[in-house]
């Protein structure tokens, strides 16, 4: 018989096995973007599940595939968690057919979230382009919930058109802790809000760099402009955090898809400070 003496005493954890979660609610936030409220089927997991804002899950449907999706609800929420998914390809299209009562499968949480604890006492600026609001919404809600611990909150959200502005029904709540500004690339006649690129919102709010952290998530093109503007405004690299997107398969640093020069987006990221990626030109593509 094969000799088993070499097997490790501590049982190995099989990272690739997902857990089942039930869809409690679904709603369409914008064309092709759905918001899911979920709960784990396993009561122990439901109870003990914990994560940080900015972390993601590997979400899958059996027979369809698996993809990284950020958790968009705050860690403070008990019993359930939420995802916000944009239809993009195989899995995300299939997710859009889910109804309450259906299940999906998740493993995680993975990656490094926003270091909110370190930001205690500071003003926070959230800059979100499109679906990038999903991970930030977790942090915003968290900050809103722990209102006393932070200074003023500013949410800047840009979208393709007014239809694509996300979580609009929550802006009032957020505004109680600070400011929410939105801007769109283009709008139908009658739109009274801002039109233009998101940096225009920065100009509008003209934030002071002192004692402020910036949390950013959005498409790569947005990063460059926003970071350029923040630099002009005098923000320090250590205070700016971005959440990166890369092709990902395993979520645990084994499949190699998400590497950016010397870090794994899935393990060291997706949230990184500009300080951490300084000099890595390929990080901001």
């Amino acid at each position: 018989m094969p000799d088993k003496t070499r097997q490790k005493e501590a049982p190995l954890r099989n990272e690739y096995l997902p857990d089942q979660a039930l869809v409690l609610e679904v709603r369409e936030l914008a064309p092709g973007i759905h918001h899911f409220v979920l709960e784990f089927v396993d009561p122990v997991l439901r109870e003990n599940f914990s994560f940080c804002s900015g972390q993601f899950l590997q979400v899958s449907l059996l027979g369809i595939g698996e993809s990284p999706i950020s958790i968009c609800s705050p860690p403070t929420q008990q019993g359930s968690f939420e995802l916000c998914v944009r239809e993009a390809g195989n899995l995300t299209q299939a997710l859009h057919r889910l109804q309450p009562g259906d299940s999906l499968w998740v493993r995680g949480p993975y990656g490094q979230g926003f270091p909110l604890a370190e930001m205690a006492g500071q003003d926070l600026i959230f800059i979100a382009g499109g679906i990038g609001l999903a991970p930030l919404r977790s942090a915003i809600d968290c900050a809103v919930c722990l209102n006393d611990e932070f200074g003023e909150l500013t949410v800047l959200h840009g979208a393709r058109s007014p239809d694509f502005l996300l979580f609009t029904d929550e802006y009032e709540t957020w505004r109680q802790s600070g400011r929410v500004e939105t801007i769109v690339d283009e709008a139908p006649p009658g739109w009274r809000g801002q039109i233009g690129v998101i940096t225009a919102l920065l100009d509008l709010v003209n934030p002071a760099p002192e004692n402020t952290s910036v949390l950013i998530c959005g498409p790569p093109v947005m990063f460059r402009f926003v970071l350029g503007r923040l630099k002009e405004l005098g923000f320090e690299d250590t205070r700016i955090f971005i959440s990166l997107e890369r092709h990902m398969r395993c979520g645990v640093g084994k499949c190699e898809h998400c590497v950016v020069e010397s870090f794994y987006t899935c393990r060291q990221g997706p949230v990184l400070s500009i300080e951490q990626i300084r000099g890595i030109s390929s990080a901001l593509r």
């Binding site: 088993k4 003496t5 097997q7 096995l17 092709h247 590497v259």
Partner: protein, 356 residues
Amino acid sequence: MAYGYDAHPALRRWLLELAADYRVLVPAEKGGNRIFQEVGTTDALVFGLAQDRTVLPAKKAFLPPEEMLFEFSAGRILPAMPLDDTIVFGLHVCELSADRLLTANMTHDRPDFHYLVRRNGGIIAGVSCRRTSGCFCEKTGHDQIVPGDFDLFLDLDGCPGWDSAGTGEQCGGGAKTSVAQPRLIAGSAAGRKLAASAPFPLENATGAIRAPVAAASSKTWPLDELPARIRDSFGATIWDDLAARCLGCGNCTIVCPLCYCFYTRDETGLAPETGRRLRLWDSCQLLAFARVAGGHNFRESRSERIWYRFSHKFMRMQETLGHAGCSGCGACFHFCPANIDPQQVIADVLEVTDSA
């Protein structure tokens, strides 16, 4: 090519005996190639241990090109249980060294269950190396291996007849025992146990086993400096020159003992409730590797992809695991239709970063 081992009746018998309890892989010939094959699956049972590289390295035994992560049926997940009964026989020093590093990679941080179940339950046995054309393990620091990083080692030093004469007789195979006996060196308890039934004398390891020195003297690389040098070389024209030659065919990474990237895929039958999630070898040299839904590609150009491959080996693995992610086996060079030679690439990197 004649391999001495075929004719060694005792070795043959022993491996066949082991094959009753284990899946035993040995390098054997198939259609003009050497590949790790399962003892018992070929009639010929040709063992060729000492020369020439196999097409796929031993990694295929522990990280199969396609493997099931789990099955599912009617909304239930049935985990795959990888088999842990593999013996791979006949790895050269660089391959043992690569195996050690690959295992370290799969162990650190979040361990890879499927690989480690197979690997930890498996047994690897090395064999003396006669060097293969285009190999350069002394440059990458993979030219020695310490006991503990292998289970068994078949030491053929002093047995030249084994891999040239094709009879095995000159070396403990028959009458002419005047030449030194092959000996087994045990590196682990499992190896020692296995060796109990072996037809060769067993010795306890005394120190590191080294690969023979390269014929042409070659300078070793400044491995500690390489991460910085590779980083600095990003965007240098050497990568564009390589990109002009590279076909992007993926051969190099598939044959590399230290490449392990994968993608996943779900598969279902005509009844969609049942199916499997698979993981399959991928290659960073393929265009779609870093592409995301919607079409944006984070490594659009071939030159970036090639840089990425070398950065993984000489920068990232060196930085995270303390060893170069290249064993120096030369397989990628051997199988590259465009003749891209990592020795030349590193020489070029050193040169362009010297002048910088």
